[in-house]
């Protein structure tokens, strides 16, 4: 693929992902779970990654932070952080980068916290692993971080254990942990999915502020378009292992260029109007073993033509962004595809 959807700013990208492929060898053959994914993120930019469960969002995120679970492996492409390749580094070296330059936040705060240690001890250890600091200075920094993520009474709460915090506060502690060494990139995988909407808003405000104040780049993985609408500068929409659309958030949400994105946006209940029925996309995303020929979305697409059944579209410039859909190609989707032809 020659197209790389560039970030909006003209700054040098902080993260560059090119033609990334993630595979799983299984008994019945190799599954291609992330198929030729390319994007980049500039300093201070939030890239939202959305898509249905199983679309490949988490695998893309995990490939970047070097935490793919075997037998999953990167089978092609490259990942660069500040110009330097990080996809082929030995485990130990990647572990250092993960703490110091990349911060990771996951859906369930409890996976990132050790229930047996106070949050203070976990913060101090992480700080001292990555920064040359005395225990006293590290503790001071830990308190500052807890204040920064909005934990009231940080001086006192630092000695509490994870179970003594509520869900929203725990997620804030995890964000503080991810910030310990002042990372340049934060990969947040569904950071608010387990939280109430009221607390979601707090976490999102926090992520945005960090981005603005420290120029941190954020890759925000979620299936919640509401979260994306408020946080992201650009959005990548994933479907069956590929990016089907990427562009500025306002365009993707209000003027989607890919039929899948349009269906996805329509199916979200909104407070603007109420109707007898919600818009629905019939059928479901194909399993990795059953991805159809041509455009992977074609069995569910009301706009498909004959070309869609045989040729797979790459990202094509569409509006202010890019969409992997023949509707945006000069040659179009081809003559109408009959049902018989599609089933053949």
């Amino acid at each position: 693929m020659t197209t790389v959807a560039r970030s909006l700013s003209n700054k040098e990208p902080l993260l560059e992902v090119k033609n990334l492929r993630v595979e799983f060898p299984t008994r019945r053959g190799t599954l291609l779970a992330v198929d030729d994914v390319s994007f980049d993120i500039a300093p201070g930019e939030v890239l939202g990654v959305v898509g249905e469960s199983g679309a490949g969002k988490s695998l893309t995120g995990n490939a970047i932070i070097g935490l793919l679970e075997p037998p999953g492996r990167i089978a092609g492409g490259e990942i660069r952080l500040e110009g330097r390749r990080i996809d082929n580094l030995p485990y130990e070296q990647m572990r250092k980068i993960r703490g110091a330059r990349i911060g990771a936040i996951f859906q369930d705060p409890l996976t990132s916290l050790n229930p047996l240690y106070s949050v203070g001890r976990q913060l101090v250890e992480t700080i001292q692993t990555h920064l040359p600091m005395s225990a006293a200075d590290a503790r001071k920094r830990a308190i500052d971080l807890l204040k920064e993520v909005g934990i009231p009474g940080a001086e006192h709460r630092i000695d509490h254990y994870p179970h003594q915090f509520s869900g929203g506060m725990r997620q804030r502690v995890v964000i503080a942990l991810a910030l310990c060494a002042g990372p340049r990139l934060i990969v947040a995988d569904e950071p608010t999915t387990a939280l109430d909407v009221s607390i979601q808003a707090q976490i999102i405000a926090l992520l945005k502020r960090l981005c603005r104040d420290h120029g941190t780049a954020v890759m925000l993985v979620t299936h919640d378009m509401g979260v994306i609408a408020e946080t992201a500068d650009r959005v990548a929409v994933m479907y069956a292992g590929r990016i089907v659309e990427i562009g500025p958030v306002h365009n993707v949400i209000k003027h989607a260029n890919h039929p899948y994105t349009r269906g996805l946006m329509g199916s979200i209940p909104s407070l603007g109007h109420r109707s007898e029925r919600l818009i629905q996309i019939d059928g479901s995303m194909p399993r990795l073993t059953e991805i159809p020929r041509g455009c992977a979305f074609n069995p569910r697409c009301s706009e498909r033509g004959r070309r869609c059944l045989v040729e797979r579209p790459d990202l094509i410039p569409a509006g202010l962004g890019w969409a992997a859909c023949w509707l945006h190609d000069v040659a179009g989707v081809g003559p109408a595809a009959t049902k018989e032809l599609a089933d053949a």
Binding site: E52, S53, S166, G167, G168, M169, D196, V197, S198, I199, Q200, A201, Q202, I204, A205, H223, D224, M225, G226, V227, A229, E230, V249, H250, I253, K254, G263, L264, M265, G266, S267, I268, P269, S270, L271, G272, H273, R274, S275, E276, R277, L278, I279, Q280, I281, D282, S284
Partner: protein
């Protein structure tokens, strides 16, 4: 609903309470000098649901929504209060046959379509089970026809009956749960977060299906969700819960256009803005207090910008207003104005 006299209620919930004892064991309590601890998960709730309507309960995690659902279908006995179904007291059904007849008429759909289906049973047997249990089929052929019809009603095929639950996606499994819930031809369905574990595109399919089935069979729903936009689309009336109490209830449009209780307003402020009008979500200060130690008076007072001394001391009563009811001193005293809201995108 206090003005419910005009409304013939199909399901009536009165003064419903459920407390859980979460104390340490007796010996530990004695040794460490600790007292008993009670979670007041549901702390006095009144709801009237009319036939054919959808009444929704909303509120933050832990406010007691699922506990209400479980009380209504009889999975928990109430600590106090009564539940009436079509004029019959649910606690009073002493005769077994009577209780079976009632159970047939009300069914529950759970949040997690993975956990609620027996993984070792074929889909056919999962759906046939209630039909067999209540003796609703006249013959084997009749049973097969009923299961086939149910599968078609939820947009699956009779051939899917041969498969096991793990062969289906999350949305399809939720369809199977719905087919099973419909199998005993119930009139009342309690749905606890039926789409919360699903993607939005699948959620739209399930919500459309539920609305279709309601129109077709005249079903009555008690619908539980923490997603206010979903509730807006599916409900006739909405009740807002906070720490085990119902702080406001109103017809759906009234609740969203003219919210009254400060907590309802706060919840509405947290809905993400998809129209991209530039409206900012107001991050709410504070979180739900522990139900082990609920605040005095109005339990919302530590988070309420309108709280005063009376709020700290006196629990507000639920009073009728604009076709609904609200429990708030500021509204009762008239010191908090009610304003209209508009969510339509700016032209």
């Amino acid at each position: 609903m206090p003005d419910g006299s005009t409304l013939r209620s199909f399901v009536r919930i009165e003064g419903l309470k459920r407390h859980f004892d979460v104390s340490a064991p007796w010996l530990v309590r004695k040794l460490e000098g600790r007292s008993r601890q009670l979670v007041q998960a549901v702390d006095g709730i009144d709801i009237d649901i009319a036939k054919g309507e959808t009444f929704s309960l909303v509120g933050e995690s832990g406010c007691g929504k699922s506990t209400v659902a479980r009380l209504v279908v009889g999975l928990y006995p109430p600590t106090a209060g009564r539940i009436e179904f079509d004029g019959q007291d649910m606690a009073g059904r002493r005769v077994r046959s009577e209780s079976a007849a009632l159970r047939r008429r009300l069914q529950m759909i759970f949040q997690d379509p993975y956990a609620s289906l027996n993984p070792r049973w074929r889909v056919f047997d999962i759906i046939a089970e209630p039909i067999r249990a209540f003796g609703l089929a006249t013959s084997k052929a009749d049973l097969e026809k009923q299961v086939g019809d149910l599968l078609r009603q939820v947009r699956l095929t009779p051939a899917d009956g041969r498969k096991f639950p793990h062969e289906f996606s999350g949305g399809q499994r939720q369809r199977i749960s719905i087919a099973r819930a419909l199998a005993s031809r119930p009139e009342f369905l309690v749905c606890d977060e039926p789409t919360s574990a699903l993607d939005v595109s699948v959620q739209a399919q399930i919500l459309n299906l539920m609305m279709d089935l309601q129109r077709r069979f005249g079903l009555t729903y008690l619908f539980i969700s923490h997603n206010l936009a979903v509730v807006y689309h599916i409900s006739t009336r909405v009740g807002v819960m906070y720490l085990g109490r119902l702080v406001e209830q109103a017809p759906t449009d009234t609740l969203f256009r003219r919210p009254k209780h400060p907590y309802t307003r706060m919840l509405l402020d947290t809905i993400p803005d998809l129209e991209m009008t530039g409206r900012q979500r107001t991050p709410v200060a504070g979180e739900v207090p522990s139900p082990l130690d609920p605040p005095s008076g109005c339990s919302f007072h530590p988070r309420c910008p309108f709280a005063n001394d009376r709020c700290k001391a006196e629990r507000p009563r639920s009073l009728p207003i604009e076709g609904g009811a609200v429990a708030c001193h500021a509204i009762e005293e008239g010191r908090l104005a009610i304003e209209d809201r508009d969510y339509r995108p700016a032209p």
